[in-house]
C-alpha cells in the first residue's frame, strides 16, 4: 500500500516536473522568438540592418571609444534619415568589451551563436580589432574598424576588414613635403616607446632618409614626466627641425624643449599631438616655433559639407564633443563608405560590397575626411591624398572638436 502511494507520488512528481519544464522551455522559446522578432523587424515591415559594435566603453580605450561610438551613431542616423540602407533601417547594437581583446572575442562569439549581424564594428583598438577579425573573416562578415596598423589593412589576410584610419605613410609623406619646403635637412624624430611609437619612428626614418634627409631618432618612456634627456641628445647632433609624437601629454615635450635650449629649433607635432587640446597646458614661450599636424576636419578651416552634417548630427544627439573631431569622422566615414558601396551595388552581398568599397563606388553619402579613402584590392586602411587630409596649424585652443584658427 505504502509502495503504491509512493509510486503514485513519484508519478505525479514526474508529471509536475515535466509540465513545469515544458512550460519553461515554451516561455524561453517564446521570449527568444519575441526578442528575435523585435530585433529583426520594424514598423516599416522590413528587417532591420543590424550593425553590431564591440567597443571599450570602459577600461583603457574608453576615452576615445566614446567618440568612435558617437561617430558610428551619427552615420547610422544619417543613413536612417535617408530611408535606411536599401530601405532597411539601420540598428546599432553596442556591446562593451571593457577594452579587453579576449572579452571582445567572447562577446562576438556569443552574438554569432544567435545569428551573424549584418555588419560588425570590430573594436576600438588595434588589439581588439585583430582579435575579432579572425572570427569575422571566418563568418564572412564585413568588419569595419578604426585601426591604422598596416597589418590590419592587408586585404590578403583580412579581406572583409575596412578602416578609414590613415596609415603612417600618409603622415610621413605630409611631414616630409613640409620639411623639404622649409629647407630642413637634419631631422630629429622623437617618439614614444611602444609598438605604435616605434612603428611611426621607423616609418619617418624610412620616408625621410629615402628623400635624402638625415634622421636623428630618439625615444622616451611613455610614463616619463620630462623628456630632457632624449631632447638633449637630439640637440647634440644639431637638428634643423624636430618631429615629435605624443598622444597623451605633448606638453611635457614642449616644456623640456625650452629647458634643453631648443627654443630656436622648429618643432613639428605629428597627428598624435592634435588628438586633444594642449593649448592650455603650455606657456607662450613653449608654443613659439611649434607647428602641429592636424586632420583638416578638426580645424575651423574645414568646409566640407559632410563635416557640417557630422557636427549637426552630433549636436542633435546632444553629444558633447570631448576630443578632436577626427575620431568621430573616422567612424562616421567608415560606416558611410560602406553604405555608399551597398547603395551602389544594390546588394549587401559581402563580396560585391567589398569590391565596391575597394574601388570607392557610391557617392550617396558625402564623407567628412576625404572624398577618396584610398582603399584598394590590397590595402583596406586609409591611404588617401595626404594634402587633402592634413594641414599644419599653430598650437591653438580646441572648441567642440575643432581647433580655433585665427583668420
Amino acid at each position: 500500500m505504502k509502495n503504491k502511494t509512493n509510486s503514485r507520488q513519484i508519478g505525479w512528481r514526474r508529471r509536475l516536473v515535466t509540465a513545469i519544464s515544458f512550460m519553461a522551455v515554451m516561455s524561453v522559446a517564446a521570449t527568444g522568438c519575441a526578442a528575435t522578432s523585435a530585433s529583426s523587424t520594424n514598423e516599416s515591415g522590413k528587417a532591420d540592418f543590424v550593425l553590431y559594435a564591440s567597443l571599450g566603453r570602459s577600461g583603457a580605450s574608453a576615452s576615445f571609444a566614446s567618440s568612435i561610438e558617437a561617430g558610428i551613431n551619427a552615420a547610422v542616423a544619417t543613413v536612417n534619415d535617408q530611408g535606411g540602407l536599401l530601405g532597411r533601417p539601420m540598428k546599432l547594437e553596442v556591446e562593451n568589451n571593457e577594452s579587453v581583446a579576449t572579452k571582445a572575442v567572447s562577446n562576438l562569439q556569443n552574438r554569432l551563436r544567435n545569428g551573424a549581424p549584418d555588419l560588425v564594428w570590430a573594436g576600438s583598438t588595434s588589439s581588439e580589432t585583430l582579435a575579432m577579425l579572425s572570427l569575422t573573416t571566418r563568418e564572412k562578415v564585413i568588419a569595419l574598424n578604426n585601426a591604422s596598423a598596416p597589418q590590419i589593412g592587408e586585404a590578403s589576410t583580412f579581406p572583409y576588414s575596412f578602416s578609414a584610419g590613415v596609415g603612417n605613410e600618409a603622415q610621413a609623406q605630409f611631414l616630409l613635403r613640409n620639411l623639404k619646403e622649409k629647407g630642413h635637412k637634419t631631422i630629429g624624430v622623437l617618439t614614444a616607446k611602444g609598438a605604435f611609437g616605434e612603428a611611426l619612428s621607423s616609418q619617418y626614418k624610412k620616408t625621410f632618409e629615402g628623400a635624402g634627409l638625415t634622421v636623428i631618432p630618439e625615444s622616451y618612456e611613455p610614463d616619463a614626466v620630462e623628456m630632457d634627456g632624449p631632447l638633449a641628445r637630439i640637440r647634440d647632433k644639431g637638428p634643423d627641425a624636430v618631429v615629435f609624437n605624443d598622444f597623451v601629454h605633448p606638453a611635457y615635450i614642449l616644456a623640456s624643449r625650452v629647458k634643453a635650449g631648443m627654443g630656436n629649433v622648429p618643432f613639428y607635432g605629428d597627428a598624435s599631438t592634435t588628438i586633444n587640446d594642449m593649448s592650455k597646458t603650455v606657456s607662450a614661450d613653449q608654443k613659439e616655433g611649434v607647428t602641429l599636424m592636424s586632420y583638416k576636419v578638426q580645424t575651423t578651416a574645414a568646409d566640407r559639407p559632410a563635416v557640417k552634417n557630422l557636427i549637426q548630427t552630433l549636436n542633435k544627439a546632444n553629444v558633447s564633443i570631448s576630443s578632436g573631431l577626427y575620431l568621430y569622422a573616422l567612424a562616421y566615414d567608415t560606416v558611410l563608405a560602406y553604405a555608399n558601396a551597398v547603395e551602389a551595388t544594390k546588394s549587401t552581398d559581402v563580396d560585391k560590397v567589398r569590391t565596391a568599397m575597394e574601388s570607392g563606388e557610391g557617392k550617396k553619402y558625402a564623407l567628412a575626411l576625404t572624398d577618396n579613402i584610398g582603399w584598394t584590392k590590397d590595402v583596406h586602411i586609409g591611404a588617401g591624398e595626404d594634402a587633402e587630409l592634413f594641414s599644419l596649424i599653430p598650437v591653438s585652443p580646441m572648441v567642440a572638436g575643432q581647433f580655433q584658427l585665427q583668420k
Binding site: E218, Y220, E221, D228, V248, G261, M278, T281, S283
Partner: protein, 291 residues
C-alpha cells in the same frame, strides 16, 4: 650652460617628487607599521584639485593649498578607517592590497570626474627657465626642490623633537609596548594618516607645475618613491632625502647619456647593490629579533 648640470637639476626635481610622496609613506609607516600605496594617488588627486580650484575656479594658490590639504586629510582619514585599520597588525600585511585598492578607487574617481586628458596647473611662482649653477631649470622646479627638502626636514624634526613624534617612533619600535606606556596608538595612527593626506593635498599645486594633472602619474611615482624609500631605509627621513636626491639624478643622467630604456634597469641595479651591501637601506636601522 653645461649638459651635466642641467641633467643633474632635472634629476633633483624628479627626486624631489619622490621625496614628497615618500614623506607620506614614512609618516604612515612609523605610526601604523603599514605601507600606504595610496599616497602617490593622493598626490595625483591633489594636482587635479590644483587644476579645479586654481585654474577653473581661479582661487589664489594659498587657498588652493588649504583646500587641497583639507581634502587630502579627509581622504587620508578614510583610508585609515577603511583600508588600514581593519587589516593592520594582523601579520598578513593586508594593507598592501587594501591601499592599492584605495589607489585604484582614487584614480577611478579622478578619471570619472576629469577624464584622461592632461589638465593644466597654474604656475606656482613662475614657469620661467633660469640658469642655476650652470644648468637650466624653471623657477617652479627649483621651488619644488626646496619644498621637498624643507618638508622632509620638518617631518624628521617632528619625529625627533616633539612628544607626538617621539610617540610615533615608539609605536614603530614596539606597538604593544607603546600602548602599555599609555600612547593612544589608534588616535596617533589616524592623525598620521590625516597628516600624510594633508601634505599630499597641499603639495598638489607645486608638484603639478612639473607633472601637470594627469591620472597616470600616481602609478609611475608609486614605484619610484618606493624604490627611493628602500634605498634610503624604510622609516628614515634622512634616508628618504638622500635616497631621493641620489636616485633622481641617477635616473636623469642615465636617460641623458644612455637612453630612456636604460633608466629602469639602472635604478633597479642600484637598488640591488644597496640591498646586497646594506639590506636595511642607507639610513635604515637593523632590527634585532629574539627567536
Amino acid at each position: 650652460m653645461t649638459i651635466v648640470e642641467t641633467a643633474l637639476l632635472t634629476g633633483l626635481v624628479l627626486g624631489s617628487i619622490y621625496i614628497l610622496v615618500g614623506v607620506g609613506y614614512n609618516i604612515v609607516l612609523i605610526t601604523s607599521g603599514a605601507f600606504n600605496f595610496a599616497q602617490a594617488a593622493k598626490v595625483m588627486l591633489a594636482t587635479f584639485l590644483a587644476y579645479q580650484f586654481g585654474v577653473v575656479a581661479e582661487l589664489p594658490t594659498p587657498l588652493v593649498m588649504v583646500f587641497g590639504a583639507l581634502i587630502g586629510a579627509a581622504v587620508g582619514l578614510a583610508t585609515e578607517l577603511v583600508a588600514i585599520r581593519p587589516v593592520a597588525g594582523k601579520g598578513l600585511h593586508g594593507e598592501l592590497v587594501t591601499t592599492v585598492g584605495v589607489s585604484t578607487i582614487i584614480t577611478g574617481i579622478v578619471v570619472t570626474i576629469w577624464g584622461t586628458n592632461v589638465r593644466p596647473v597654474n604656475a606656482f611662482v613662475s614657469a620661467e627657465v633660469i640658469t642655476v649653477l650652470g644648468g637650466r631649470i624653471t623657477v617652479d622646479a627649483l621651488i619644488l626642490v626646496i619644498v621637498a627638502v624643507v618638508v622632509c626636514a620638518s617631518v624628521w624634526a617632528w619625529s625627533r623633537f616633539t612628544l607626538s613624534g617621539l610617540a610615533a617612533l615608539a609605536i614603530s619600535e614596539d606597538r604593544v609596548a607603546a600602548t602599555l606606556r599609555g600612547i593612544n596608538v589608534n588616535r596617533l595612527s589616524i592623525l598620521a594618516m590625516a597628516g600624510a593626506g594633508a601634505i599630499a593635498g597641499a603639495i598638489g599645486p607645486i608638484v603639478g607645475t612639473q607633472t601637470l594633472a594627469v591620472s597616470t602619474i600616481g602609478a609611475v611615482v608609486t614605484l619610484k618613491a618606493f624604490l627611493v624609500l628602500i634605498v634610503g631605509g624604510m622609516g628614515s627621513f634622512p634616508g628618504l632625502l638622500v635616497g631621493g636626491l641620489v636616485i633622481g639624478p641617477i635616473e636623469s643622467l642615465t636617460v641623458r647619456y644612455f637612453g630612456s630604456e636604460f633608466s629602469t634597469p639602472v635604478l633597479f641595479a642600484v637598488l640591488l647593490i644597496v640591498l646586497l651591501v646594506k639590506p636595511e637601506g642607507l639610513f635604515g636601522q637593523k632590527i634585532e629579533r629574539t627567536v
